[in-house]
Structure formats: C-alpha cells, structure tokens
C-alpha cells in the first residue's frame, strides 16, 4: 500500500535533476554572481552533475527498502 508513494517519491527525485538541467540552466542564464571564478550558469551545471549521482543513490535506496 505504501509502494505507490515510494514510487511517486522516486519519480519526484528523478525529476529534480531533469528540471534543474533542462529548465534551470536557461533560467539562470547569467554570469554574476560568479562561484569560485566560474560563471553562475556553468557553476549550476557543475553543481547538478555532482548532485545527480546523489539523487540516483537516494532512488536506489528507496527501491531497495521497498524490496
């Protein structure tokens, strides 16, 4: 009975990087403020490259806990 909730949560987590990359990048279309000397839009891309494996790890944990 909880399985559809877990499934919905997994899909929601999967959508985070999708929206961050596809929609977030063109919206954060600016150079300032720079992060460690890197323009904001590129820093955003780098941030989400690092966060995507973490999202997948969370999804995998949920899948395993579901059995």
């Amino acid at each position: 009975m909880n399985s559809w909730r877990t499934r919905a949560l997994r899909i929601a987590i999967a959508l985070l990087p999708v929206l961050a990359f596809a929609v977030g990048t063109p919206l954060l279309n600016r150079v300032e403020p720079q992060i460690l000397g890197i323009p904001l839009n590129l820093a955003w891309v780098i941030l989400w490259i690092l966060l995507t494996p973490i999202c997948l790890l969370a999804i995998e944990r949920l899948r395993r806990s579901q059995g």
């Binding site: 999967a14 990087p17 999708v18 990359f21 596809a22 929609v23 990048t25 063109p26 919206l27 279309n29 600016r30 150079v31 720079q34 460690l36 000397g37 890197i38 323009p39 839009n41 590129l42 891309v45 780098i46 989400w48 490259i49 995507t52 494996p53 999202c55 997948l56 790890l57 999804i59 995998e60």
Partner: protein
Amino acid sequence: MMPESVAAGRIALSIVVVIIAGTIAFALLNLKRGRVDPAEYAIGGRSFGTIFLWVLLAGEIYTAFTFLGAAGWIYLHGAAAYYIPAYGAIGYLVGYALLPRIRRLGAERGLVTAPDLLANYYRSPRLGVLAAILYVVLALPYVTLQLSGLQIVLSSAGYGWLNGTLGAAVAFTAIALFTFTAGLRGTAWASLVKDGLVLAVVLFAGVAIPIHFFGSLGGMFAQLQRTNAALLTLRSGDAPLGQVWFVTTVLFTGIGFYMGPHSIAATFSARSDNTLRRNAMLLPLYSIVLVVIFFAGYAALLLVPGLHGHAADRSFLLVIARYYPPWVMGFVAGAGALAALVPSSALILASAAIAVRNIVRPAFPGRIDTRHETLAMRLAVIAISAAALLAWWLVPETLGSLLLVYYSGITQFLPGVVGAAFGLRLRGIAVTLGLAAGVVTAALLTYVLAHLGFNPGLGGLIVNLAVVGIVERLSPKTKTSPPMADSSLEAPTTD
C-alpha cells in the same frame, strides 16, 4: 614545407601510432581464446561487470565529437555547449529505469541486437527489418563523424606534413580489422585504455592550460567577460541556440541517450541488473570531463581567436600546436584518435550484428545458422566499415550538426523500446508506422526547415507518438493476441 614542422610532425605522429598500436595489442592480448559464438562476439556473452559497462555506456557515447566538438562549440557558441553534460545527466536517469529492464528481456529471450528486441517483443519481423535498416543507415553518419574527428586530429599532429584524410583512412582500416578480430570484448578493453588516456589529456588541457595562461579559472573568465561576454550566456527566447532550443534539445537528447544500437548492445552485455543500476549512479561523474573540456575551449577562444565554422573544431589542437612541444601534441592527438576509433568500433560492431541478424538472416531464411553467424558478423564489420569510409569521402559535414541528425533519428526508437521495457501492449504495426513517421518528420525538419529554434527530433517524436496513438485507437482490439502475456516472459521465444 618547413623542416621544423616535419620533425615535429614525426615526433607527434610516432606517439599517435604507438598509442593506437599499443591499445590494439593490449586489447588483443586480453581476449579469450577459443570458439566465439555470436553472443560472445556481439555482446561479450552477457558477462560484463561494472568497469566494462562504465567505459561502454559513457566512453562510447562521448567520442571525438566530445573531444573536439565540445571545445569547438564553446569556441563558437559558448554557453549553448552546456547542453552536452545536461542531456548526459538526464540520459543516465533514464538509463537507470530503462536499461535493467532491457537487459532482463534480452537475457530471457536470447536477444543480441536492438531490432531483435523490437521484433521479438512486438512479434513483428517487419518492425525488426525496418528498425535494422534505420539503425544501420543512421549509424553511418555517426561513424563518419568520427572519421572527420580523426582527420582533424591526425592532420594537427602532422603539423601540416601529413595528409589527414589518408591517415584517417589507414587508422580506420586498422580499427576495422581489429573489430573483425576482437568483437565487443576487445572493444571494451580498448575503451578502457582510451578512457584513461582521455581523462589524463582532458585534465591537462582543461586545468593546466587556463592556469598556465590566465593564472586561474577566474582570471580566464574575467578576461572572457571583457572580450566575449555575449558567449557566456544563452541567447534569449527562440533565437538559434537560444533558451527554447536549450530546453528542447536537453530533454530530447537526454531521453534518446541510450537509443543508439551500440548502447543497447552494451546493455545486453551486462552481467546483471544491479551492474547497470550501479553504473547509472557512477556515470554522471563522467560529465565532469566535459566541463573540463569547456575550460579548454574557452582558453582556446582567448589564445587563438578568429576561427570560424569548421576551423573551430581545431581550436584546442591549435593551442597545443602553438604553445606546447610535439610530444604533448602526440599524447593529445593519440587520445583524440582513440576517442574516434574505439566508439567507431563499437558502433560498427553493433551495426554488423544488426545487419546479419535482422536484415540478411530474415532475407535468406535458414541459410545462416548459428555456427556461421559469427563469421557473417565479421564480414559485415568489413562491409560496413568500407561503406562508412566511402560515405565520408562523398558527403562531408560539420561535426555537431551531424550528431543532431543521428540523435533525432535514433530517438524515434524510444516509444518501441520503452513499450517493450515496461511491458506495454502496443501493436507491432503501431510502433512500425510511428517509427517511420517520426524519422521522416525529423529528417524533414532538420534538412528542409533548418534553424527552427527548437529541436527537430522533438517534432519527429511528437508525430511518432501521435501515429502510435492513432493506430492503436483505430485497430480492432480483439484481432491480435497481446504481444506479451506474463507467462511468455519465462520462455525464450527465439533461439
């Protein structure tokens, strides 16, 4: 011809030759001896673990285009190039959900190629043949793209002393013979060497070059803001390569990331579902390589300004040629050459397996048994390599736009592959017509209505899905048996 450039070219090209020959020798030494059945030849006997899959599922997608094209895109279009790591990350997410299901179907039903999957699941030999022809035809531009990359790399390493076209043809012939002998296992070993070398070169180029010339990344971007500020952001709205283009291309290319014939073959080569899931978590880190290449592209823009069109693909190699000794060029070009050759090998191999299993075998029923299938695949490797070489001589194109044509085509397989992976009861005829309509639409949008401001393949996919929906709606519900009852999952339906 200056004597200095001849000497430099000899040093750099010698290193390139040693790298290519060494990689081939290393891969051949690691091959198993003995009889090779078709599944071993084309998909490594479904035995590959995490490391092989990592190099096959990322390394084979990031190619010479990545190496040269990503730097070239940064040089010409700046921030538009950020679409490349963005679609990759989305591709890995899709892969996490999709690939384990595809692998399971493959293992249960003895599937070897992508058209095997469609023909078997939808019980439609006709769909298998259409898919096979499309895959082979679409794979050709992707291979020729690698040949162009190879030509650029070799002519740069030759410092104008070597005819890059001839060099590329020779190297390509060597890799075709290697593929003939080695199969996917050999390609995976070669890929391992290639990725190691590419990583080393990219770190040097993207980190060392900016620091060497500009003090720091911040120093480089500060200078870019003074000289090329417009490149650092996307163009607004629906301008060419603008924000709308970015959103549509990232989503579309991301969902199509694993639709390539070589990616489906790599999926079938996996030992287990967990191997694929573990990989999906590790693969996004590969995208860091792309970001580092972006730094190299920006550095090239400041160091060798004024290049246009095709020439921008050489920008980063020009920096190496102008500011670094020939041996550095040798390693950079060696990595670039492998980045062109190894993915070509995987793609040609997948196309050859498709040509034999899904075009030749259905055309001559009973003429090719399992014993002869490996040999037939090997011969097809040679035939397809020759065809790619010829096509490359006859129809040259720019690196980036060719890749988009390839992607808009292969992504039309998405409805059929997703339907099979998730057990949807679609009809073979609906998937077949949708695929055909999608590819035709994508090709029309790309070639007839160029520069749309949105991704042409996405238009194709919408038509594709609409056709699938309409045919499903119109065809009688009771006429055919459902393509897959749950019980049929247990019993393999092909040899």
